[in-house]
């Protein structure tokens, strides 16, 4: 049983590709814009082009396709549920019936909507994974902090928010490893996690969740202590080892993403 392998969501894949070297601000803004645009794309060809663009960025970022596909695994259930619900319930009245399952009627319009929304959900997860695959947590924090700077006047604690985010990201793999370790320890004591009905399975998780919570609290206390021991006191007058630097490549990337967005929205 190996856990961390199968859930690479939010995992950074170190490399020195062109995409990795872009300024984190470029990547954060580009991802955000792409996510918003995704909700305005109204045609299948638009979504198709969006998908091709993601594949291209994966190639430029030297991310193996298999690795990227695995990041979609956690949303498979949600995806199937969405497709199922839409197929049967989203079709308007004046639509051709495709097939029926008991009292459920699948309509052509319903199926279209289902596929469209399913594809959109898939692309949404893919585009966000792209950001975390190619941007280290430190860069991500620096980028977010810089982007939140204008809000400081309104009392938004940009640095603290960014720090919290990066700590959360940093601890996802750690907590997964911990979960795996505790599950194995309980399996060594005869526990089974993949048998029985839903209720039984949920109950089987208590011996995992209790130690996991305890260890998460212990870790957070240790981390807070270690940060204070090194005089951490928030963002005031804090300098950085790596300054963010805007390069020509970033301008090119922004231009390309903008052009692509227009294309996604316009294509028929």
């Amino acid at each position: 049983m190996e856990f961390a392998t199968y859930v690479p969501i939010g995992q950074y894949l170190p490399s020195d590709s062109a995409v990795h070297r872009l300024d984190p601000r470029t990547k954060i803004v580009a991802t955000t814009v792409l996510m918003v645009v995704l909700f305005f794309v109204s045609t299948f060809s638009g979504l198709g082009l969006f998908g091709v663009t993601i594949l291209a960025v994966l190639a430029f970022g030297e991310i193996p396709l298999g690795f990227a596909l695995r990041s979609l695994r956690p949303v498979v259930f949600l995806l199937l549920l969405t497709v199922f619900l839409n197929t049967f319930f989203a079709g308007g009245a004046p639509s051709r019936t495709l097939f029926t399952v008991g009292p459920l009627v699948a309509t052509e319009a319903g199926l279209r909507t289902a596929l469209f929304i399913g594809l959109r959900l898939l692309l949404l997860v893919a585009v966000t994974s792209l950001l975390t695959f190619t941007t280290s947590p430190v860069e991500l924090t620096d980028g977010v902090e810089w982007l939140l700077r204008p809000l400081r006047r309104l009392g938004v604690p940009g640095h603290e928010l960014a720090m919290m985010m990066s700590i959360a990201l940093r601890f996802i793999p750690t907590l997964l490893e911990e979960t795996e370790r505790i599950m194995k320890a309980q399996m060594a004591r005869g526990a089974e996690f993949s048998q029985g009905n839903v209720l039984k399975r949920a109950r089987a998780l208590i011996p995992v969740l209790v130690p996991l919570m305890l260890s998460a609290f212990r870790r957070s206390e240790e981390l807070a202590l270690a940060m204070e021991a090194r005089c951490y006191r928030g963002g005031e007058q804090r300098t950085r080892m790596k300054e963010l630097r805007w390069r020509a490549a970033d301008s090119v990337a922004v231009a390309v993403v903008t052009a692509a967005c227009v294309l996604f929205l316009r294509v028929r």
Binding site: A4, T5, P8, G66, K184, A188, R189, P207
Partner: protein, 284 residues
């Protein structure tokens, strides 16, 4: 020779297989653990010790090779891995972090509770396990495990595995992070269990524990078995040990230092042996 309780044949294991971060942890490990022996598994950090013992009860599936427990291939079709988990009691590193119940008694009952035993039998086993780790059931049974000291918590966790009555007890660094008294309590309990006939495999970084406890030593380095033999045989090859990043027990180092200074002391591995050897040398 009796049939081995655990037998590994050419076991290979690769972490994160099929991703760019693929890393081989075991490269063709073959070994056999025989009934009644106490085997120390030593090796530098990252040599694959912890990965190896997770193969002993079927928690990890070897990428290649076979693992047999009491003669049964764990990964044959229809293999009963739950039974293997009862036969091979695995105690992980820092096992006190797996405690979760409200009382010590209930936590220890978690393991035997999965074996389909009656309530009375489970209670009996819990008492027996508490005695085995030297905790009085009347005093500790109804306490919350989280109010105990580190050493006590670890012994409760150990009891949680012993209560399943395993045929082999496998422990990953059972004394790490404990104070000297906590360490001694665990080691003394293991000695007693071994004397009573339990087969034990222990991963440790303490050469003194190896010298004191082990009938046989298996040295792992970079996912391979590089040496195997009695402690005396292994410690005779101190050059080879140092090459993989290990060293001799303190007592052995002491007698060697004395010999280098001209005192004719015989070889010794434990403090007791060193004491006898040094006294003998002085009496001449």
């Amino acid at each position: 020779m009796p049939e081995p309780v655990i037998a590994c044949e050419d076991v290979t294991y690769i972490y994160r297989r099929g991703t760019p971060m693929e890393a081989p942890a075991l490269r063709g490990v073959s070994l056999a653990i025989r009934p009644g022996e106490l085997v120390a598994l030593i090796g530098p950090t990252g040599s694959g010790k912890s990965t190896l013992i997770q193969h002993f009860n079927g928690l990890l599936r070897p990428t290649a090779g076979t693992v047999r427990v009491a003669g049964h291939d764990l990964w044959a079709p229809r293999a009963d891995r739950r039974r293997a988990r009862q036969q091979v009691g695995l105690v992980f590193q820092f096992p006190e972090y797996q405690l979760f119940e409200e009382t010590v008694r209930r936590d220890i009952a978690y393991g035997p509770g999965h074996l389909g035993l009656g309530e009375a039998t489970v209670a009996e086993r819990v008492d027996e396990a508490l005695h085995l780790v030297g905790l009085d059931p009347a005093r500790f049974g109804e306490r919350s495990p989280f109010t105990l000291s580190g050493g006590e918590m670890r012994r409760v966790a150990l009891a949680g595995v012993l209560a399943m009555r395993p045929e082999v007890l496998v422990l990953d660094e059972p004394t790490v992070g404990l104070d000297p008294r906590g360490k001694e309590e665990i080691i003394a309990r293991l000695e007693t269990l071994h004397r009573q006939g339990l087969t034990i495999v222990i991963i440790t970084h303490s050469m003194d524990e190896v010298a004191r406890l082990a009938d046989r030593v298996i040295v792992l380095a970079e996912g391979r078995v590089v040496m195997a033999g009695s402690p005396a045989e292994i410690y005779r090859r101190d050059e080879d040990l140092r090459r993989v990043g290990l060293d001799l027990p303190q007592a052995a180092l002491l007698v060697r230092a004395l010999r280098a200074r001209g005192l004719p002391v015989a070889d010794a591995l434990t403090i007791g042996e060193a004491r006898a050897a040094i006294l003998a040398a002085f009496r001449g």
